[in-house]
């Protein structure tokens, strides 16, 4: 089933919204079924979403750069335990600075089961820039269209159905600081995590430069040969052509190879979590 709009799956459950109960677990997590990453531009309300899901009260500040390290928490929903990781807010994933690298590496090597991209509905254009970069790396994403109250206040109307169709991933309108839309977000996260929803995200249209396109497709062939089953060969190719040193070293030391053998969040993600905890 391809899920491209935000209509909820399993309409029978529309009448029983409380059947899947949200239990906030705070930081008390020793085992989990799925890992959820929270990505987004700075100051879009990621920490507010994080707090709404985990029941934690991470301080949220109205300024960019509040979350520079990763925060982790947990919640239980629909009999599944979720570990949620709040990534630093960044404008891009080109890994120019330490916070971008933390976010990028977690989405790439941590292979979260769902990446929730929190975007500011009042600044959609700039926020989609990051969202598109995330969708180049992973298919399993949900877009949380946050700050809908402010969009309304500015008399902007955002057509979330059209956006969901264009992006190819579920889009959930949200006013996280009042808890509006959290239930719908949970349903989407659950759907993508369990595989009930299989997003087919938008990918960058080919560039107008045919030499570049040729180089990309040539590299993609090589990458697929070297790492069969890698989910984002095209993105890796683009990063290599851009001279991304950390991707080069991931190829050299084989950690990229680990990704091609399917989800094994255990080893790679553990390592990242440990590396994160040490800093």
């Amino acid at each position: 089933m391809t899920m491209t709009t935000n209509t909820l799956p399993g309409s029978a459950c529309a009448t029983c919204p409380m059947s899947r109960h949200l239990a906030r677990l705070g930081v008390r997590m020793d085992s989990w079924d799925y890992v959820v990453a929270l990505a987004g531009n700075p100051n879009t309300g990621k920490s507010t979403v994080f707090n709404a899901l985990t029941g934690l009260r991470q301080h949220t500040g109205n300024w960019p750069g509040k979350t520079v390290a990763r925060a982790e928490g947990g919640f239980e929903y629909g009999d599944k335990r979720y570990k949620i990781v709040d990534l630093p807010g960044t404008y891009s994933l080109l890994a120019a600075s330490a916070d971008e690298e933390i976010a990028r590496d977690f989405i790439l090597f941590g292979q979260p089961d769902v990446t929730v991209i929190v975007v500011d509905a009042t600044r959609l254009e700039r926020n989609l820039n990051l969202a598109l970069q995330v969708l180049e790396i992973t298919d399993k994403a949900v877009v949380a269209l946050n700050l809908m109250d402010e969009a309304r206040r500015h008399k902007l109307s955002v057509d979330e159905r059209r956006l969901a169709r264009d992006l190819g991933v579920p889009v959930v309108p949200l006013t996280a600081r009042r808890g509006e839309g959290i239930a719908a977000l949970l349903q989407m996260v659950h759907g993508v995590a369990t595989g009930e929803i299989k997003p087919r995200p938008h990918h960058l249209a080919s560039t107008r430069d045919s030499a570049l396109d040729r180089a990309v497709s040539q590299l993609v062939t090589r990458i697929e040969a070297a790492f069969p089953g890698l989910p984002n060969a095209r993105w890796v190719a683009l990063r290599l052509l851009d001279g991304d040193a950390s991707i080069e070293s991931a190829i050299r030391d084989g950690s990229l190879g680990d990704l091609s053998r399917g989800p094994q969040t255990a080893s790679v993600a553990e390592r990242l979590v440990l590396a994160g905890a040490a800093s």
Binding site: G61, G65, S97, E125, L132, T207, D242
Partner: protein, 474 residues
């Protein structure tokens, strides 16, 4: 058979040379084009333009070249004035309860149960009184200051501060985002050091780490507020006392910002040479703060956590001080030996041995400076009728009583001013030093970050003390 990974990397390198350096821009452009197209399809804007944009009007005022800085200083002064005025009464109530009522009850209970004198001394005169002191001195100002500061933060004012400071930072050869990590440092320097991760250039990040200590942190605000209330505030008519003490605290904070610029400028021309890089700072929309939630989180997140940290540091420190004061070597207590040893050096700096010993005891947490100073002063000045014995943290009803004790310890206005200066300019607390090591992974830079402010503090207080003595002020 060749290694596929090495093979792949070689191909990539060859293709990269072919594609050329323009590819990064092409990619960025493709992203922007796509984002713009998708956003355009999804968003409908209102036909009529809003008549009046409040956000923009506020921004024009608070980031204006003329009014930006005066407004910033005014807001800070108001925050401290409310803090100093408001903390007075609850501080006295807490002191009466914890020091005048609970402490004698505990001592009586101990003697009724037949505790040996040293056990009751260590437990109640050392550990309990240190904790009680920290709570009554720190809790009220923090419970007022943090919510006010958090409200400003939630409203969206802090990025405007960063915006105002950006020009100065780049003139000092530092990164404009240092304004953000510095603002974080006003809460906690360890958090400020971690916040420098948003700065991409390693050179500029190091500058931000090395100078973060000049942003006055939670642990130091109460010391400054207290000293300023007692010495600066009492030197002017009572009606103005609150305002003048608030202004003195703001003065020290502003001096810290100026030092940040000066030291950044110095570093970027000596040890850490280079050009300042450019960045874009997004000014977020103003948001009406959620008052109750802010009160709740700032009380739980900041006040109680900082207070708990202070108490856990103060309790062992109380035990150490009591023990130091009651172990005698050659007729003098260990504490007196140490104080006498450092007295000469302290005099040179316009301070005294007591203050220096207090700063050594307080390396884990700057919060306990004032209680430690008071206790050691009573001990060394040999005051009678105050406190109940050596190393006892005594009860005080008012700021006047504290002033009298410190006066007996030989304190002058110079001592108070230099204590405020030294509180701004000295080594970071041990938590921050550890964080600096984690972030830089370099013993050398950790050592520089520790020694640089300490030596600078010695230099500043020494210069001021010498100048004051030569000019006959003291």
């Amino acid at each position: 058979m060749s290694d596929p990974a090495a093979d792949l990397l070689q191909t990539a390198r060859a293709l990269r040379a072919e594609v050329g350096a323009g590819m990064h821009d092409q990619l960025a452009e493709a992203l922007y084009t796509d984002a713009a197209r998708l956003a355009d399809r999804a968003v409908t804007r209102p036909d009529e333009r809003p008549r009046f944009d409040l956000d923009r009007a506020i921004d024009r005022l608070v980031t204006s070249r003329t009014w930006g800085f005066p407004i910033m200083i005014l807001l800070l002064t108001v925050v401290f004035w409310i803090t100093i005025q408001g903390a007075n009464v609850p501080s006295r109530l807490l002191a009466t309860l914890l020091l005048d009522t609970v402490h004698p009850a505990l001592k009586d209970g101990a003697s009724a149960l037949g505790f040996p004198w040293w056990l009751s001394g260590v437990l109640f005169d050392g550990a309990y009184l240190a904790g009680a002191w920290v709570i009554s001195v720190m809790l009220p100002p923090m419970a007022i200051f943090f919510p006010l500061f958090t409200l400003l933060e939630d409203f969206g004012y802090l990025p405007r501060v960063a915006f105002n400071l950006d020009r100065l930072f780049s003139r000092a050869g530092a990164h404009g985002k240092q304004a953000l990590s510095m603002t974080m440092g006003f809460g906690c320097n360890a958090a400020g050091v971690v916040a420098t991760r948003v700065i991409d250039s390693p050179r500029e990040r190091l500058i931000a780490i090395l100078t973060n200590n000049f942003a006055i942190c939670n642990g130091r605000w109460p010391t400054l507020i207290m000293v300023s209330t007692i010495f600066i505030g009492s030197a002017v008519p009572a009606a103005l006392a609150g305002l003048v003490s608030a202004a003195a605290v703001v003065g020290i904070a502003v001096l810290g910002v100026l030092l940040t610029f000066a030291v950044s400028w110095f570093l970027s021309r000596t040890m850490l040479k280079g050009e300042a890089s450019v960045f874009s700072l997004e000014l977020p929309p103003y948001r009406p703060p959620r008052i109750w939630q802010t009160l709740y989180t700032s009380v739980i997140d900041r006040t109680l956590i900082v207070l708990w940290r202070a108490v856990t540091m103060a309790v062992p420190a109380g035990v150490v001080i009591w023990t130091m004061s009651n172990v005698t070597i050659g007729g003098q207590s260990a504490a007196e030996h140490l104080v006498n040893l450092l007295d000469g050096f302290g005099w040179l700096l316009g301070l005294n041995g007591v203050i220096l010993v207090a700063y050594i005891v307080a390396i884990p947490a700057n919060e306990i400076i004032i209680p430690t100073i008071l206790m050691l002063t009573v001990l060394t000045a040999g005051l009678s009728g105050v406190g109940e014995g050596a190393g006892v943290m005594f009860e005080l009803e008012s700021g006047n009583a504290i002033r009298n004790i410190l006066g007996a310890g030989g304190w002058t206005t110079l001592t108070a001013i230099n204590l405020m200066l030294f509180s701004l300019i000295h080594n970071p607390c041990s938590t921050t030093i550890l964080t600096i090591y984690h972030e830089t992974r370099s013993l050398k830079w950790t050592a520089v970050a520790t020694a640089l402010p300490l030596l600078l503090g010695f230099a500043v207080t020494f210069t001021l003390a010498t100048a004051a003595r030569l000019l006959g002020w003291v």
